[in-house]
């Protein structure tokens, strides 16, 4: 077999690093694990108390059985905290060489210079690099390692941390609240528009690793910010767990866009809770691309709490062989004149399985809401599967609702047409898939749209054999 560009690209993501870690907790999860993590971070005691309480919730809650199969997760076999370097740097040159090489391969510092306002890079449990361009620091924008936030910004953290997603929300938010490490803390002051994206990059390198980053973004009144996260991990025979919690607070008239391009290797359980609160006339946009992983369960949510608040959720899932992408969106209309749009696109290939799971809820007081839900599934072969579970709980009769769902297959006619113009079958399939996701790709900054197409190419070529 000739080496294709896709093969080379796969190798570029799939490399493993041989790293001497500075500190790691023993496998398994006990009170002691939680205490050690807190101690490593020298965090205030109130945060430790919250962690210990969350651990209780985690232990008390049963595994969810309503979604994807999670029976393969062995909580005793996971390492919950790994510190790869002594400290987080703001200078790229200070990052340990091997880790630096990893991110160099992925293209992190280059991207920062070119089109980002700031960058964070997390390796295992800790953010090893963080930088925000000076023009934004001057305006009072905060973009830092979440681990440092309880010490540096205790008032904001106390006020908002865990208010959007309480520890007891679900088993994995409880787990995250107990052992969280890293992630981003962002505060955008009133009226400030951060017009270049802020980006964080998450990498799991060790086998049987648990990564539990925690992100909190607060957009103050009339401000706006676009945050992008990318994730990868190399392939191991043992499974890893990624259970992040992301909380967004969009204060009146603000706008937050949160873009994810996730490309975990197919041994990662990706169980993420993402939720936003949108106050009066605020806009929250989740642009969520789920490629890779073994199992993903993720339903970005927005609570529309203030009059005129808007939610725009665009979710894309690609499931290949042995993968289950259980994703979707949740919106709760709590106030009048709120509107929401959910567009979910999924692709299943080589026996992969996608599920759209959505919940739109309109409470009695939310007069004059508008809701649009659209789910499109594309099946690339007969072995693959797609399910749709769209729930609507409408308690206000005035709500305007549009709902549309389609399941389609790539037709032989489309493939033959493209082949008759000189495209191989693989190229033809990829072109149709890229077309199917066009609505998603056009929402991404150029560099990410290119990256997305590259990842689709990997998915389309890497699945055979």
């Amino acid at each position: 077999m000739p080496t294709t560009a896709a093969d080379i690209q796969r190798r570029q993501i799939n490399f493993k690093d041989d790293i001497d870690y500075v500190y790691r907790t023993p496998r398994g999860l006990t009170i002691e694990t939680v205490r050690k993590i807190s101690e490593q971070k020298k965090e205030p005691s109130w945060m430790l108390d919250r962690r210990l309480q969350a651990l209780k919730y985690f232990l008390a809650k049963p595994m969810p059985t309503w979604g994807a199969d999670l029976s393969g997760i062995n909580f005793d076999d996971i390492t919950y905290y790994i510190r790869p370097s002594e400290r987080s740097s703001t200078k790229w040159s200070e990052v340990p060489k091997k880790i630096k090489d990893t991110f160099d391969k992925i293209g992190i510092p280059k991207a920062e210079r070119k089109f980002l306002a700031g960058v964070g890079a997390q390796y295992e449990s800790e953010v090893i690099y963080h930088n925000l361009k000076e023009q934004w620091t001057k305006l009072g924008v905060v973009f830092c390692d979440m681990s440092e936030a309880p010490r540096l910004y205790p008032e904001l953290v106390k006020k908002y941390f865990g208010t959007v997603i309480p520890a007891a929300d679900n088993k994995f938010s409880a787990l995250n609240s107990a052992v969280w490490s890293g992630g981003s803390f962002i505060y955008v002051p009133k009226g400030v528009h951060v017009d270049l994206p802020l980006q964080a990059y998450f990498r799991i390198n060790a086998p049987s690793m648990g990564q539990f980053e925690r992100t909190l973004i607060i957009a103050d009144e009339g401000s706006s910010v676009h945050y992008i996260e990318g994730c990868t991990a190399p392939m191991y025979s043992k499974d890893s767990l990624h259970a992040a919690v992301v909380e967004l607070v969009a204060l009146p008239n603000s706008r937050i866009r949160y873009t994810t391009i996730q490309n975990w290797s197919s041994n990662v359980y990706n169980l993420v809770t993402k939720r936003a609160i949108a106050y009066e006339n605020a806009l929250v946009e989740w642009v969520d691309g789920n490629l890779g992983s073994k199992v993903t369960m993720k339903y970005p949510a927005v609570l529309l709490k203030g009059r005129g608040a808007r939610a725009d959720i665009l979710s894309v899932a690609f499931a290949g062989r042995g993968q289950h992408q259980d994703s979707g969106a949740k919106v709760t209309h709590l106030a009048p004149d709120t509107s929401s749009s959910i567009v979910a696109k999924s692709i299943s290939k080589d026996g992969g399985r996608t599920s759209y799971r959505g919940l739109v809820r309109v409470l009695p007081q939310a007069h004059g809401c508008r809701i649009g839900v659209r789910c499109d599934a594309l099946l690339l072969d007969k072995r693959s599967r797609s399910d749709t579970y769209p729930r609507m709980m409408i308690e206000n009769p005035q709500a305007t609702i549009e709902h549309e769902a389609t399941v389609s297959k790539i037709s032989d006619e489309q493939l033959y047409y493209l082949e008759s113009r000189g495209l191989t079958r693989e190229d033809a399939e990829r072109m149709i898939v890229v077309g199917f996701l066009e609505i998603f790709a056009k929402e991404l900054p150029m560099e990410y749209a290119v990256e997305l197409n590259r990842l689709i190419e990997l998915e389309m070529t890497g699945s055979v054999g």
């Binding site: 037709s411 032989d412 006619e413 489309q414 033959y416 047409y417 493209l418 082949e419 008759s420 113009r421 000189g422 495209l423 191989t424 079958r425 190229d427 033809a428 072109m431 149709i432 890229v434 077309g435 199917f436 996701l437 066009e438 609505i439």
Partner: protein, 251 residues
Amino acid sequence: MPTITNTLEIHSLHAKAPGQEILRGVDVSFPRGKIVTLMGPNGSGKSTLAHVLMGQPEFTVTKGQIRWQGKNLLRLKAWERSRLGLFVSFQQPPELPGVNLLEFLATAYKAHHPKANQQKDFDKNLRKALSTLKLPESFLERSVNTGFSGGEKKKAEMLQLLVLQPKLAILDEVDSGLDIDALKLISKTVRSLRSPQRTFIIITHYQRLLQYLKPDIVHVLVNGVIAESGSAALVKKIEKKGYSEYLKVAS
């Protein structure tokens, strides 16, 4: 290379769609540089012949040979035949939602011309093609065939023809449902591509297009076999008498 290999030669070709034999022994050749017309009543197998040549998997060739440029075409996949220089315009091209027309054209062009130094010709061809077809540049921003009118679909097919510049182009009823201006555009397109190196096979029911494009050779396909071959004069004969005499013989 001997000239003979540049003639596309079909011997005793039998092909069927699921449950139905359509081509029942086609013997015909298409010499390089000629405009050949393939006529025949509805259901006689004209489009099937076009797509069997192109390699549509829906059809099974049960017997016979197709040779071109020293190759057995039946061993090649559709994309390989395309890269050899074969092109069929589709009567009903499928919609490709979200697939940008420009990107599609560029990808197809690149498949035919993989070398980097050939890329500049793409822009040149494309610009010329748009002006020949009187299409605005914004047309390229649309999704391939998606929501196109009948006329736009035909033009999009012609656009691909002009960009790819194949050695042998089969135009399958490109004239159906078009007004006279569109018809003129299409004949202009063909004439602009005409060269001693390039063969056209024009499949049509009507004489209209043939008034603008004078064929060198005419074949009449009836019930899956070539019933008669001749010069442009044969078109006139069919115009007068229709296909009834062939159908009598066939039944």
